[in-house]
Amino acid sequence: MSGRDQITLEVIKNRLDSVADQIALVLMRSAYSPIVRDSLDYSTAVCDRNGRFVAQGLTTALHLGSFPYAMRNLIGKARSGMRPGDIFIFNDPYGSGGMHLPDIYLVKPVFVDDEVEGYSTALVHHADIGGIAPGAMAVYATEIFQEGLRIPLMKLFAEGEPNQTVFDFISANVRIPRHVIGDLRAQVAGIRRGEQGLLEIIGRYGARNFDEFCSALHEMSETAMRTVIAAIPDGDYDYTDFIDGLGEKPEPIRFQVRLRVRGSDVDLDWEGTAAQVPAAINAPIPFIYSASYLAFRCLAGHEIPNAEGYTVPISVKAPTGTIVNPTPPAAANARGIVGFRAFDTVLGALSKAVPGKIPAGSEGGAINFGVGGRIDGEAYVFGETTMGAWGGRSDRDGIDGAANLAANQSNQPIELIEAENPLRILQYGYVKDSGGAGQHRGGLSILRQYRFLADGLLTFRSDRRSVLPAGRSDGLPGTPNLNLLDDGNGAIRTLPVLPMEGYAVRSGDIFSQFVPGAGGYGHPFARDPMAVLEDVLDEKISRDYALLFYGVVLDGDRLDPDRTASLRRDRPVFPNTSHLELLWKEMVGLIPELHCSAPFEAAREG
């Protein structure tokens, strides 16, 4: 490509990014459900004539890598039957290219002179898709048939005409049709905007040139990724991580990856990963592609062009029948947890390959919370995600209260939640003495506490209570999740991370959910004592914690440098759950009704 074309390419890239952003914006601002409009659990992409994405909106990172799989499937099955004005719809992970049922893909082929020259697409996590429990987060579904409406690949619009049958089917199968149909309408409007934008670009440069520029974007993106991979020393890098397990007596679910780095190619092999489970956390393969790509995408830095070419040097193998490549009819609605864990596992392997470039373990991904029921005969469904602790990094602290890198979703405004749902939020804030100590400490745990103001069915998905977020380079591991249900009858119940049942809650019950704290980086005694003092003054850690884990002695609100120096002469090896005692004190402080002993006997570093 000549230098002059290089310039045009940069202009086209700007235009394409603008189109993807525009789809995202229409969706965000005109959607009806909190999970779309506030949590931003959706993704948008603009694809070339081969269905390869050339731009993506700034939305849910863990979705983005699923488009290639979905588009290949669509083109393979439907290419010859595409007509101008068509919009395709699908969500079924088995045979249609979907990931799990709540995620509905819409794809609009963009025609110029009767030829498909590109695609405008959006994938939205819908607020409800029917199934065994409101909000589609029932971990205890064992087959996809319990999980709601399966939409095989078909046309939602045929030559511009809506397929009313499909709309009617969807309306009849979901609990809150007005929201779901409203969001679908926003999704359609979004990709129509995307189509207009794409047509403008193609109109300007001509279809053939546009296609050539797309190829050049892919090449550029691939070259950038190859440069990154080539900088990793050749070798095999293994890492094992776990999901805590299902139900009341959890058995760890193993994630095993081997990165084989050879020159500028890498191969991720998931051999050794656990078999699929009779619960809703199996992740159909596109999600694992997505998690694998994402880890490398982050390593490459955020300025690499967002074109599919970067996926070319990365190959992914996952044995059939595992939790990362299940066979039908495995249930999958709560599969997000597998994506987060697969991402963590790849990062763990990379931390061996390129030390210093990978943060310590995060909170482990979004916790999903859902409750629904009926008030005066009318259905209500509320769902949200909570998260927000980043692990320490080799040159800086982790982050208190920032969305997981793989999800980047917003929290929902408490006042809106309370105005629109029979819920009251009692507390939302940091938990002192949480997170992993380190030279660069991990982000703090967050408590979100709900009071139900109506009877309903509670479902949720969480993790990282026994296998804690990883510390790196002598940093301490993060701190555990905890889910507590207080039904007013005395003892507070500790609920499992991945419950194999829904809980019938009564108006007045209180549910408390602790987001895990993130892992620390570097030995805590190497931490700048002034930074420790700041954390004490900000009530993020206690004085006891400063003394025990950072070897920092304070004299009132001042540092005692001499005693600190003498205490820090040796660097102790901390038993890696020793920091949970102080945390428990803090948890009891936040929830005074807690009278049990700390339920952390199984906790260990990943």
Partner: protein, 715 residues
């Protein structure tokens, strides 16, 4: 650089208005302090000098002193001094705001720091979150709780309030923010704490409660807005009082008026109640000026593009009115799209002119990255070291260096000779850093930088137009700022725009905008409910009450009652949606069935903005808005003719206009030379003190009756 036009050297006589009031606009940016004085429509003095960041009032004292010394205006003739300032924004960007505390509902002190938790970038392991303006140690919780309808669930614990105020006093805070959950529905708890605080802490502490400035649902946004107000309050107060002192010391008795982010001005006292309302003060003035121009054009829809050294700012003008938004973040630096990428700064939900800002300006660095991509910005050489061409130590090629290489910018000097240009160094930088890696000739590389920069700026324009369902092709592009008129033709090409207007004094246009800006008070009232369930009478009553209050406040602020106009609007959305659309209500429709009027207007606006609507779906009213406005006594932009400014453009120079047109021998003329020539085809360069405009081949240029440069595309 100090540059000044004393009154005597200006020859303008065409619009002299005898005994008209003199207004002075003072616009302070990071680099320059611009002052324009006008008597009626007649410019009677302009000053442009380097800002004095240590104390910005120094440059004002200096500049106004020079203006008065020139003798064309006397201090007592001045009727108003209108000021646009970045003091509030700078306090946040530089972390130099007040030592503030926050009192909030027990259990929620981290709302401020947790924010919406979403990060503004993907794929970045090294992301850093902006630190909260009030650290956790000074975020104090007290027991109290309201329900969404405002009813009291837990009464306010006054002992805890007293204890919290004791801690505030002990910490020697300078400002206090108060924000309780659901206080938009019932301000009583906040009011009580504010009263106690004002009593306990004394008048030296700036106290602000959320219901006073933003009675709207959404706790983070309201808390953040309140905290920003507290954080900048004492700084803005001290600064404005200093400016008022400066005016007094010069014998100017006229009131100091301040530009707010929404494009209207208010007096000192009113601004000090909501100092956070002036964060976008400077950029707003230019857009207000743009709106005034748009009203005189055949189509009153326009897009303004304001480009200086580090950023380009775009705004949409519809029917001659500026577009506003309440979604804004202060301290965010640069954002591509004001709505999608959130989290870089601190939420500030006060009305602001909807401006999309992007990191591309004259000082933007151009680089060819590892994979051969040519990129321009967002990093900038700033004013120091600046572009290579300025010879102040800059080594990295910038957009300005590309403009010099192309021949757009004078190869010898700009700003009337004040800034020498080293064109050889500029060409060498573009050649070595960009042309060689790309394997093209230097002028092609420079053209590339120009085109890429324009593409980046085009994104800013799209963010305020196509992103909202507005077609930019139907708009006139109004270009100003030092570099606006150089970039405008390329941006217009990208967007299919056919007409460009460059006002006189493009480099001081914001100061001109200040002179013509109206006085304005905007009030919002949350009235949440299903539209169909509200009565015409309720809505009418609320609107009337808001209007009366806004009118009263404007009169207190010095406006004359009979000159005040009222503008009504409502924010609506479909039930379930999170974002509202503003729908205007014409005063003549106030007596109609407002429920029906609003519903119909909302469905239309939704269809227009998002491309879909649903007549069956229920519509919620969220809030009502009223703007009381008194127009500026100077209703037209000052005109200015560079007839006799000593400007001596170089005559003819070789300019590269891209691969198709190639190098053209291009006349370099002044605005007044263009007037003499009449309508002229490109290529042309129009050079003036504070800016340069380019007319490429395929465009023709003329000067209209108000000395505005009008470029029209021929092909």
């Amino acid at each position: 650089m100090i540059y000044m036009q004393s009154a005597r050297s200006l020859k303008i006589g065409r619009f002299v208005t005898k005994n008209a009031s003199v207004r002075i606009g003072i616009d302070i940016g990071g680099t320059f302090t611009d002052i324009v004085a006008a008597r009626g429509r007649e410019v009677v003095g302009i000053v442009k000098l380097q800002s004095t960041p240590g104390d910005y009032s120094d440059a004002i004292l200096d500049g106004l002193g020079r203006l008065l010394a020139a003798g064309r205006i006397a201090p007592e003739e001045v009727r108003a001094v209108i000021h646009g300032t970045t003091v509030a924004t700078n306090a946040i960007l530089e972390g130099r705001g007040a030592k503030a505390a926050l009192i909030t509902t027990r259990g929620f002190r981290d709302v401020l720091e947790l924010r919406r938790i979403r990060t503004p970038e993907l794929y970045n392991f090294w992301y850093e979150k902006p630190p909260p303006l009030v650290p956790r140690r000074r975020r104090l919780e007290v027991t109290e709780r309201l329900e969404p309808d405002g009813s009291v669930l837990i009464p306010l614990d006054e002992d805890e309030v007293a204890a919290a105020l004791g801690r505030c006093a002990g910490a020697e805070i300078e400002a206090l923010a108060i924000c309780f959950l659901h206080s938009y529905a019932n301000p009583e708890h906040e009011k009580r704490v504010a009263d106690l605080a004002r009593g306990t802490l004394g008048s030296g502490v700036f106290v602000t409660a959320s219901h006073e400035i933003l009675p709207e649902i959404r706790e983070y946004e309201r808390t953040s807005t309140t905290v920003v107000n507290a954080y900048v309050g004492p700084v803005v107060r001290a600064y404005l009082q200093r400016i008022a002192d400066v005016l007094r010391s010069l014998g100017i008795a006229a009131p100091l008026r301040i530009m707010q982010s929404n494009g209207g001005t208010l007096g000192l006292e009113a601004v000090l109640r909501v100092p956070a309302a002036i964060v976008e003060s400077g950029p707003a003035a230019g857009v207000v000026g743009g709106a005034l121009i748009a009203r005189t054009l055949a189509s009153s829809d326009a897009i303004t593009i304001d480009m200086g050294g580090t950023t380009a700012k775009a705004a949409l003008i519809q029917n001659g009115s500026v577009s506003r938004t309440s979604e804004y973040e202060v301290g965010a630096g640069i954002n591509v799209s004001s709505q999608l990428v959130k989290g870089r700064g601190h939420a500030l939900r006060l009305p602001v002119i909807d401006i999309s800002e992007i990191g591309a300006g004259g000082g933007s660095l151009a680089v060819v990255d590892g994979v051969g991509r040519l990129r321009v910005g967002p990093h900038s050489a700033g004013s120091v070291p600046g572009p290579v061409a300025y010879g102040r130590g800059g080594r990295v090629a910038t957009l300005t260096d590309a403009l010099v290489t192309l021949g757009y910018v004078s190869p010898t000097s700009i700003a009337g000779g004040a800034v020498p240009i080293d064109s050889e160094a500029a060409v060498a930088a573009v050649s070595g850093q960009i042309a060689e890696p790309l394997g093209v000739a230097a002028h092609h590389a420079a053209q590339g930088i120009y085109v890429v920069a324009a593409a980046v700026m085009t994104r800013a324009v799209k963010a305020v137009s196509t992103f909202r369902g507005r077609d930019p092709r139907e708009c006139t592009l109004i270009a100003f700022g030092g570099n606006g008129a150089l970039m405008a033709p390329q941006i217009a090409d990208e967007l299919g725009i056919r007409t460009i207007v460059v006002p006189p004094l493009p480099g001081l246009f914001s100061a001109c905008g200040l002179i013509v800006a109206p006085n304005e008070r905007e009030l919002v009232h949350s009235l949440f409910g299903r539209l169909i369930g509200l009565s015409q009478a309720t809505i009418r009553e609320e609107l009337d009450e808001l209007a009366a209050r806004a009118r009263r406040e404007l009169v207190e602020d010095g406006s004359s009652p009979e000159a005040i106009e009222i503008e009504y609007s409502a924010d609506l959305r479909y039930a379930g949606q999170a974002y509202e659309l503003a729908v205007g209500v014409a005063a003549r429709h106030l007596d109609r069935d407002l429920v029906a009027v609003l519903a119909a207007a909302f469905h239309d606006e939704h269809e227009r903005t998002f491309g879909h609507s649903s007549l069956q779906d229920p519509v919620d009213l969220v809030s009502l808005r009223v703007i009381a406005r008194e127009a500026s006594p100077i209703a037209d932009l000052p005109t200015f003719d560079y007839a006799d400014t000593g400007q001596r453009p170089d005559g003819i120079r070789d300019v590269f206009f891209g691969p198709e047109a190639g190098v053209c021998s291009t006349p370099v003329i002044s605005r007044s030379q263009l007037r003499r020539r009449g309508e002229s085809p490109g290529p042309l360069i129009i050079e003036e003190y504070d800016a340069t405009a380019v007319v490429p081949p395929g465009w023709k240029a003329s000067l209209d009756e108000a000395a505005r440069l009008v470029l029209v595309r021929q092909i």
